[in-house]
Amino acid sequence: MNVRTYSLKCLGVAVLVLWVFSSCKKSFSELYENTNKPKSVLPYLLFTGVLNQMLDAPGGQIDRTNQYQVQNNSYFGNNQYTFGSGDNYYQTLNSVVTMEQSALAGGAAAVNPYEALGKFFRAYFYIKMSLEMGDIPLTQALQGAGTLTPAYDPQKTVFKTALLWLDSANTDLAALILRKDNSLTGDIYLANSLVAWQKVVNTFRLRVLIHLSKKVSSDPDLQIAQQFANIVSNPAKYPLMQSSRDNLQYTWIYPTNSYPLNPSGFANGSLNNSTSTYVGLLTQLQDPRVFVTTDPAPGLVTAGGSPTAFSSFKGADPGAAMADLSSQNGGGSLSYINRWRYYSNYTGEPSIIIGYPELCFNIAEAINRGWLTTGPLGDAAAYYTAGIQASMLLYGIPNAGPMAVYSFPQGRRMNIDPFVIDTVTVNFATYYGQSLVQYHGNDATGLTQILQQRYIALYLHSGLEPYFTWRRTGVPAFSSGPGTGNSGRIALRYQYLSADKSANAKNYQAAIAQYGGVDDINGKMWILQ
């Protein structure tokens, strides 16, 4: 073999190898694609995704902001109102936009369930962000690279726009119900029922209007009272929730979606205490719900207190220093959340996002404020009573008669030792008959009663509603002190989404100008003025 043929053979082998390994079957553009994930999806998948974003799960910071629970061990957190950025729901809203587009692309009519609920979602998430942060981008938002620096809209615009969306959502849903549209799928809350969703939309709209209670006279163009009255008095056009069965709520299921407080995290139960803000109100009102939601303070029971005496329930002061809370908890003098109800199983209670008891109190408040004089259920007292009873029902408290109450003194072992079962006798009439509870009338005292009961009914539900309501009304009185930080002040707003500091600096600066150029957590936003 001479050198030439040899080298030619080598070259031949090289070419062959080259061909084998390069396997140039795919083009560069085909190779570029990420084939592991979809490039487009059906609307129902986005719908399910958005629904999951609506939940504010209990067992975390929200419970402390609402002063339902405190931390007693600073390693695991604290009770300070040192708010950072508010929630970023713009990505969720982008999902909503994509869902609407995807529905249209799939051949849906201009008015379709995804579009109608899309309006509701916009209202829900924009309102939530605005309640947290104040003015927020809306009209120029959600345009991607089209508008990289959206201007901030005044809070009034956000509310006005949201109310229009909600009205439009109600109209569209009515039309869809009329034509018996059944194209909605992917619902995890209301079994794809447009009828149920329509009630949610209108119930939510009353919540939005209630948040504007300070703006009734200053901003007559919003027609706050009129809208409220119009909705309540026209159930045919604006159906509302009729009972807690209509609640928009997140039902916990095992094993995929366990209640955040459950036996596997039992040890966390002793890191938190129930607060004086909540427990103090219940014991002051001799409210049987305290037996359901709260454990008696272990030290008070071992010192001879009865587990069914209101005096054995002692909440922690959220304003107290962490060090004091840890000493008090260490001495057994503070109550825990009721471990039987919240830690003995994996499904806990459904977490209400928008619910019937709140609706009752919102209508009662509106009547108290004189926005309307009566609704289908009657006067303010009727709605107030209905709200309390709906809440009691959710806790399984009978109207009258004996009720088993469960407590968990120290030394018991979860899942091994039984809970201590005691019996208390409850009677709604007796409860309601107390002067502190009985509706005082459409005055300031009556309003305080409504708001106190609303606070009690929203225990571990509906996200930051209790905090927002305290901020608007001061009821119930939130405690402050070294434990709440912020130099003893309870913050009034969340800071803006931090990326805007660099990425949308001009508009960000313009938005915080009203707070003296500081993204101030103590700043008073428009609805509070």
Binding site: A14, T98, L148, A505
Partner: protein, 1128 residues
């Protein structure tokens, strides 16, 4: 001028020594002297004289004055003189006729410095060997033999301190990957004999490596984007140059013993909180008996219910702490520090001495036209953590055959298997025994106790384990003996190449290469284990399988032309195809039905699985040109074009140019005598990067939601809520530039989707880096001392920037070309031989380097980047939580005695060190040698995560010393007292006039004028104070300044005379030591081996850490060993 003086001296000298020799004889003496070209007398030159007719030979050696003499040479005889010395070209004087004694029988010889010493050759990109003097950039080569004696567990960490500008962060963990930072950027490209291989650094066998050459910046331009941050070139050993058969055996056995970084923890207080503890079930049924910290009661023999106490259902026992009375069924027993035995805590008694043996046999055979080398390496490492270890088997075959003069065929095949049935998971979390033993549990239990060692509760074998706590902590024997993490990786890489010499100017090389790995990782999690997200304690089994295949095929033409006396042109032109494909799958049970059956069919809930695949192709063409202009300069230029499928097709091609100039000034300008060599050099290159990732995790783009891990849609998605997401080598597309929907099953197994949170500039172009480098190399005193100094400037950007945009756009990230930063740095290498004698010599190598990187240009329209950074700011500034302070720097306390935290993150220092350094010394005395290396870095800060957690958790011994220790005793005495407010008073002030503190957006206090301050007077418990203080990053910042006595080798080569009659050619024995001394401020409290955190990205331990923070680590040890090297 100097030469003239020398000549004069020489003549005078000759006259002097010539004087006494007069009378006529048959023989005569010949004397002479040998000088260098520069006129220095040369000592040690071997002079041979051979009689041209009788062939009688004589030898002499020059003395310290360069003089030699031969006695008794035949008068009138013709002699050929030859002069030879290492480092000089040999000289000769033929036909010297010896004159009568007394006449001028003298010789003067000038030897030219051999270019070979200066013409040292190094390997450059694409495996091209070049003379150092022609290279226009800094290059440092490390001989493989330097890394095979005092070796570390990892094959690459031996490079620490060997190369200026290369920072190696060795991992403290078994199978950890060291971070290799070249000028601050992670090197990810390993090139073997000119072709890239996939490497996790463990599949490289140091015994098969001839040399490492580290390409810094511009040098790597020929490799394209994978070398954008540099490359490590490895030249494998070939068969020996001498004909015949050689066998080499190299063996190192070493032990790991004696900690250099060990957390010093207290054993005065046990587990619990606020001084309270009473065991009921370890799940929270007792008092602080679950997820406790080491703030429990003091060990003083008091009666407390404990984990191994007798359970008595018929009686209750009351334990009282202050106001708290606890009643339980466990019989209380004396509470003593049972885990502290003979001065050693549980961790120290749990860990054992490590051992590593590494053995290599290499056979090489060389003939006229072939060259073969076969090598087998085996390494076994027994970790200091019981029942964990690592094995490596490596085969290497390397052959070259020349069928004709013109054709050379080379082939290499390397097989590597790195495997272990169990490696520990070291991370911050319950899956890590360091979390368990270093931070959260103390002397309330004893690691050697029979019940603990027995692991299982009686009657609940394989179901329930014995331990004081069952929520966050684990019995360490369960963790190492039952909770097993296997790792089995097989790497194969090899190539075949053929080089054909067309003529003296041209040759062509064709080469095809394959690099591929197969990785199988498994986790057997027993019942009773409860890492994050797995609270039901019902075990699990997981498999993680990954396969990578890559081939690089190239064809290149090398040329070499001398155009003129003055000009030579050489270089190459070629093209290559890179084909890449990767696939992986991750499958896991969702709890087990039966314990110990680690099989998917034993899954309690539905099996969860995720898969991933990717393909990629890169076509490249490249060329280089070296033009030498006589002895004045060499100008080199390279160019490379890549077309990569990892970029959008509109902009998938990019060009990398580089130009460099080198000029050996001493070749054409006469310099002062002391300077024997001076080269100046400069270079420029532009490199680009595509959308690829050097590493990949277990379940990229996964959508498993059942286990609660991430489904973020990146290559590093961890489907679990715990554990290290092992990053294996990748080099493929990361798909970061395309929008995809993420899918998941967030509720009741119902699918859901959400759109991408990213948007993309449709005209996005590859990453851009412009490099400049300037430097000089200077040698003094006849090359005794060499100094190499380099300055470099990198302009990085516009990057492919994942820029945070206003979330109100509906997206969080906009991929654009933007953000420029400039890095300026300096590197100095000094090497020399201060002493060079016949029997004793001393060599020294010093490396020093520094750099700083600053923002140069922010994304369009932005005046700040990431809130805090502006143009001109260093990019490594750390902003994190800090204390509120008065104008004079005192910490402000709140009314309860807690230090106040500023609501805005504050500047806490720079992560990068000011400079890094190393000094290597080697002394040779006869057959002995002794070498050692010190290295370290100065400057930079880091948050010490171990310090943070041990202070916050009460484990650190500092919580029992000084004022804290005193106050802690008070806290213990008042445990359970509801009104107790502690006795510790932190140092600082309080606002005394009740005014609120107002801050601006940067955290500056805006109303100092309204605030009156008085010294802090509030007492507080130690636990509350320490938790607040050390949970503030500022309280945990520590220096990164450290130094290490890195390696010590004492070697002895058996004298050749002893071996002369045996078949053995060489035997060397050495005692080796590694990481023998560690110098670090306050190592006692910190237990931090800081060097591994040379980067913000903590390799191998990536969770639970923040920017500028360290992570938990296994204590690090000294290593002592013995090396034998035999050649026969």
């Amino acid at each position: 001028m100097r030469k003239k003086i020398n000549r004069f001296l020489w003549l005078a000298f000759l006259v002097l020594i010539g004087q006494p020799l007069f009378s006529q004889q048959v023989t005569a003496d010949v004397t002479g002297a040998v000088l260098s070209e520069k006129g220095e007398f040369l000592e040690g030159v071997t002079v041979r004289a051979e009689n041209a007719s009788s062939h009688e030979r004589y030898t002499a050696v020059t003395d310290g004055k360069g003089v030699f003499s031969f006695k008794g040479l035949s008068v009138e005889g013709k002699y050929d003189f030859t002069f030879s010395m290492i480092g000089y070209e040999s000289g000769s004087q033929k036909n010297f006729v010896v004159k009568q004694q007394g006449q001028k029988n003298s010789l003067l010889m000038r030897l030219k410095e051999k270019s070979s010493e200066l013409n040292e050759v190094v390997v450059t990109a694409l495996g091209v060997r070049k003379e150092v003097k022609k290279i226009g950039y800094a290059v440092q080569e490390v001989k493989g033999e330097e890394l095979v004696k005092a070796r570390d567990a990892n094959p690459v960490t031996g490079l620490i301190g060997k190369v200026a500008g290369l920072s190696v962060g060795p991992s403290a963990e078994l199978l950890g990957t060291p971070s290799l930072l070249m000028r601050g950027n992670q090197i990810t490209l390993f090139v073997v004999d000119g072709v890239p291989i996939s490497s996790d650094t463990w599949n490289i066998s140091p015994d098969d490596i001839e040399s490492y050459s580290v390409l810094k910046g511009p040098a790597a331009a020929l490799y394209g984007s994978r070398a954008q941050f540099g490359a490590i070139l490895i030249t494998t050993k070939k068969g020996s140059r001498h004909k015949g058969f050689t066998v080499e055996i190299n063996s190192t056995n070493s032990v790991d013993k004696g900690f250099i970084a060990y957390p010093k923890t207290q054993s005065i207080y046990g587990g619990g909180m606020y001084g309270e503890y009473a065991y009921a079930d370890g799940y929270g049924g007792g008092v602080q008996d679950a997820q406790y910290q080491l703030w429990g009661p003091k060990f003083k023999g008091q009666l407390l219910p404990q984990y191994d106490g007798v359970y008595d259902p018929n009686n209750t026992y009351t334990t009282t702490f202050g106001n708290l009375s606890y009643q339980g069924h466990i019989v209380p027993a004396p509470y003593v520090a049972r885990g502290y035995v003979n001065g050693k805590n549980n961790l120290e008694r749990f860990l054992r001495g490590g051992f590593q043996t590494t053995n290599n046999v290499a056979l090489s055979a060389t003939g006229d036209n072939y060259n073969l080398r076969f090598s087998l390496s085996q390494s076994h490492q027994t970790s200091i953590v019981p029942n964990t270890g690592l094995d490596i088997i490596n085969f290497n075959m390397n052959g070259s055959y020349k069928p004709t003069d013109r054709l050379t065929i080379n082939a290499l095949m390397n097989f590597n298997r790195t495997y272990t049935p169990n490696i520990p998971d070291v991370i911050y979390g319950p899956s890590s025994l360091i979390y368990d033993l270093s931070v959260w549990t103390g002397a309330e239990w004893n690691v050697d106790a029979p019940d603990i060692k027995g692991v299982w509760q009686p009657g609940k074998v394989n179901v329930a384990s014995v331990f004081p706590e069952h929520v966050h902590y684990h019995n360490p024997w369960l963790m190492v003996n039952d909770w097993l993490r296997g790792h089995y990786k097989t790497d194969i890489n090899g190539y075949v190449s053929a080089n054909y010499r067309i003529d003296n100017h041209l040759n062509v090389t064709g080469r095809t290469q394959v690099t591929t790995y197969n990785l199988f990782r498994s986790e057997k999690m027993p019942f009773s284990a409860h890492p994050y997200g797995r609270a039901l304690e019902k075990g699990d089994y997981r498999e993680d399988r990954r396969n990578l295949f890559e081939s690089n095929t190239d064809l290149q033409l090398n040329y070499n032309y001398k155009l003129h006396r003055m000009f030579t042109l050489s270089g190459l032109a070629g093209g290559s195809i890179r084909a890449f494909s990767y696939n992986s799958n991750f499958t896991t049970t969702d709890y087990l039905i039966e314990p110990t059956i680690y099989s998917f069919s034993n899954s309690l809930n539905p099996i969860q699985s995720s898969s991933f695949r990717s393909d990629m192709r890169v076509l490249s063409a490249y060329a280089s040109l070296d033009a030498s202009i006589g002895r004045y300069a060499t100008i080199s230029a390279t160019g490379r074009v890549d077309k990569s499928s990892a970029l959008p097709t509109e902009h998938d091609s990019y060009f990398y140019p580089s130009v460099s100039v080198a000029s050996v000034v001493s070749d054409y300008i006469r310099l002062p005598r002391a300077i024997s060599y001076l080269k100046i050099r400069g270079s420029y290159a532009t490199v680009h990067g595509d959308a690829t990732s050097p590493t990949i995790g277990m379940a990229p783009y996964n959508s498993i939601t059942a286990l609660g891990g991430t489904t973020a849609g990146t290559l590093m998605d961890n489907p679990l809520q715990y554990g290290t997401n092992y990053a294996s080598p990748y080099g493929g597309p990361d798909y970061s530039l395309q929008a995809v929907f993420s899918t998941s099953k967030p509720y009741n197994n119902q699918p859901a989707a959400s759109p991408s949170t990213n948007i993309y500039d449709p005209n996005i172009k590859p990453f851009n880096r412009v490099n400049y480098e300037e430097g000089f190399d200077i040698h003094f005193l006849n090359h005794r001392l060499g100094l190499s100094a380099t300055a470099f400037q990198y302009i990085d950007g516009p990057r492919i920037l994942a820029n945070a945009i206003s979330p109100s756009t509906g997206y969080t990230t906009y991929y654009i070309n933007g953000l420029k930063s400039q890095k300026n740095g300096y590197e100095v290498t000094l090497n020399g031989t201060p002493v060079r004698g016949k029997e004793f010599s001393w060599d020294v190598l010093v490396n020093w380097s520094t750099f700083q990187e600053k923002y140069k240009e922010l994304p369009a329209g932005q005046t700040s980047y990431n809130t805090f950074y502006h143009v001109g700011d260093r990019v490594d500034k750390i902003y994190s939580s800090a204390f509120a302070r008065t104008t004079d720097g005192q910490i402000i306390y709140d009314k309860s005695g807690l230090p106040l935290r500023n609501p805005v993150n504050r500047f806490l220092g720079y992560t990068n060190p000011d400079y890094t350094w190393s000094i290597y010394n080697k002394f040779n005395y006869k057959s002995f040698y002794f070498s050692f290396q010190f290295d370290g870095s100065v400057g930079g800060v880091i948050s010490d995560y171990l310090l943070l957690k041990t202070m916050v958790g009460g484990a650190n011994i500092a919580t029992t010393e000084g004022a804290l220790g005193k106050a802690r005793l008070d806290d213990d005495a008042n445990a359970g007292v509801s009104s107790w407010k502690g006795s510790y008073v932190g140092s600082g002030v309080q606002v005394s006039n009740g005014a609120a503190i107002n801050y601006d957006n940067l955290g500056n206090i805006t109303n100092y004028k309204n605030l009156a301050f008085a010294p802090n007077a509030s007492t507080i418990t130690v636990q509350n104070w320490a938790t607040q203080y050390y949970n503030t990053m500022e309280g945990t910042m520590v220096t990164k300044t450290y130094a290490k006595l890195r390696e010590v080798v004492i070697g002895y080569d058996l004298p050749r005379a002893w071996l002369a009659k045996t078949f053995i050619n060489k035997v060397s024995l050495s005692l080796v030591g590694r990481n023998l001394l560690y110098f670090y401020a306050q190592n006692k409290y910190r237990g931090l081996d800081v060097e591994q955190f040379n980067t913000n990205v903590v390799p191998a331990v990536s969770l639970a850490t923040q920017v500028g923070s360290s992570a938990l680590q296994t204590p690090t040890t000294r290593r002592f060993g013995f090396n034998v090297n035999i050649v026969f």
